[in-house]
Amino acid sequence: MQYLLGNEAVAHACLEANIDFASGYPGTPSSEVIDILRSQEKRGFYVEWATNEKVAYENALAAAWCGVRALFTTKHVGLNVAADPLMTSAYTGVTGGFVVLSADDPFAHSSQNEQDSRCYAQFARVPCLDPASVQEAHDMIRDAFSLSEEFGLPVIFRPTTRICHSKSDVDLGTVGDEHRVGEFCRDPKQYVVIPAHTRVLHRLLNEKQPAIKKRLVELGYNTAEVRGKTAIIASGVAASYVQEVIGADVSFAKIGAYPIDEDWLRTFVDAHTRILVVEELAPVVEEAVRQVATTTEVFGKMTGTVPYEGELSPAAVAAAMATAGFSPTQSFPAQRAPAAVAPRPPILCAGCSHRSTFYAMRKVFKDGIFPSDIGCYTLGLQLGGVDTTICMGASITVGSGIKQSGEERDVVCTIGDSTFLHTGIPGLLSAVYNGANMTVVILDNRITAMTGHQPNPNTGITAMGTESTPISLDAICRACGVSFVETVDPYDLPLLLATFRQAKEKDGVRVIIAKQPCVITARRAGIKRKPYAVDPERCTGCGVCRSFGCPAIAFADEKAWVTDLCAGCGVCADICPSGAIHREGR
């Protein structure tokens, strides 16, 4: 027994399954799986961070075509980026086991939407496993590779935040050390999806479906126990919430694998007069239940009994049960969060270089429009520097669209280095090609910070720790046709302001690369900067530094002071109009 995070248990199960290849793009709540795989001391397999999910999916798919066991990891929205290869890889199939880990995020704890990866599994007609607990997540991954090999199909594994980031006592198996070497066997009928081939492949995919359904019942991930005339059917982590509050005389079915076998489901449904379906996100199970139900009364999302949005909990399940005429075994007090406690939202770190970049951008472009992107810098919202975010890479494209719509105000978009390499480049190329008039700021902190500081091609090191040739963002932008490309140190506020002013005067697409390592990685790398301090004699209490928003600046008795969080970036010293902030020891 070990106490492990869901993602740690999943990574361990991959080792038990003798995984040969792993590729992904970081995204909460999925990132730890590859981070753990890549930090294994004895590693007999290949692991990489790819530049985006489509790239990662295709890399892993090709490995599985070569007969090795491959894992692809992403967060739910990353599966949108990889949807193109996903859909057709269901046709081509695989020879080596291929597991597509797509972590869903009910309640959008760290995401831009609450989409449901099970819908992709239905859409692509591939099997999907949906764990109810950390232990089950572990066990399912072990089975997922052989399931994939048995049917020659990618298998979607879909944990949610409360699996990935929950911990539990877990029973682990033994790590294997038999690894395969990939070998590509030429077979155009399988791997070249011209119309003549794909029509056949589509039929073959459809023909696999009945056997998959039967096999999933045999595997025991869909279980049912008849205990009375009424029943609850639950899926994924919601099943564990139901188990906490369900009465002994209510039947219970747990769905952990899709597609659901209709015959199996019909037998269970027909044995009951009333059924409540409890699941997070989309009504996938509920639709299946409604399709087979004849006289049984069905409650769920479609009756308004279970919410479509957000995450469930034992209390939410108990409430749904009460509405549907079931008696939960526990009652939950109607406790409310106390009103008016000052909120404490996440905030850019003390010394984060993004803060000064946003500050300078807003100073120079007072009336600007600020499309932004996905990363720590989305927190620039608090600094008034983020007007839009929709998905990865959508700052430059949205900026270009706004400008070309006829909007006259200046457009300045912000995008991180990893996001720029992910999907920013095509947007930049298109903006230049089509003559957009805008400024693009690449927030270059040399790392994929928000998801836990994973390396990217800009870092100069791979996931496996091998040095790589650091790419040049400047050269990429110039190759896209940008002539104004300036790299500045965002800790140098006067220079940063001057560069923004220069860009403002120019036409066409201008790029500013604000380059400074993330303070967390800098600290880990041993870079030390002397902290700053406020001279109380000179501080007038004007509050200018306060509005800069650095968490190391506190205020007491109408005077500012710098706390021990200070990372020594020195920007506040440039902002203070009274010159009251100095590097310590001077």
Binding site: M1, H109, H165, P314, A337, A342, P345
Partner: protein, 194 residues
């Protein structure tokens, strides 16, 4: 009730709530008991308000419902106020005496209550208040505040103090074992004096 002992640990991203939850989980493994817990990862960790749910003897999901926690441990006094509704009436709270004012308060010129006001607002609870910063410095490092708080709260947990101490040793960085052992014991003593 399902017989699980439900602990909610709250604080600010970076204060070590995850490490504290690891210690509790490790202690459960050592006592051969099932455990479930849930944590905040990702963006919210950047200095935001964070929570760790730990369910000792838990066999189902990892989430604790409001009004149902057996113990609330707050690494920051303002966070104790924010999460107090997880306790039933008169429930048990072990909290740090100090709090960090959120930066947004300075930026938006809001007001926050002072320590005395917050403590008064928590007065209906079964309250144990610890000056974690002072005790942690005494133990040898201000970074050991999380273990000080855990030591204080250990008096109210269904886990043996020796098991918890062994779990602390196993979970903290090897170089800091001695400091954290002291932090745990001093925290436990301080809670005993309250």
């Amino acid at each position: 009730m399902n017989g699980s002992f439900d602990i909610l640990i709250v604080g600010i991203g970076g204060q070590g709530t995850v490490l504290a939850s690891n210690v509790l989980g490790e202690a459960c493994i050592r006592e051969g008991r099932p455990v479930r817990s849930a944590e905040t990862h990702g963006m919210a960790q950047r200095g935001g308000s964070v929570e760790s749910h730990v369910r000792i003897d838990g066999r189902y999901g990892s989430l604790i419902a409001p009004g149902c926690a057996d113990l609330l441990i707050a690494f920051d006094l303002l966070e104790a106020l924010r999460y107090r509704h997880y306790l039933p009436e008169g429930g048990r709270l072990v909290t740090n005496r100090r709090f960090v004012t959120p930066t947004s308060v300075y930026m938006q010129k809001q007001t926050v209550p002072d320590e005395a006001e917050i403590l008064a607002a928590l007065g209906d609870l079964d309250l144990t208040c610890i000056d974690a910063a002072v005790i942690a410095s005494e133990a040898g490092s201000p970074l050991s505040q999380n273990i000080v708080m855990l030591g204080g709260a250990s008096r109210f947990m269904p886990l043996a103090a020796e098991t918890l101490l062994a779990a602390v040793r196993a979970c903290v960085p090897p170089k800091t074992v001695a400091i954290n052992e002291r932090a745990f014991s001093l925290g436990r003593d301080a809670a005993g004096r309250c």
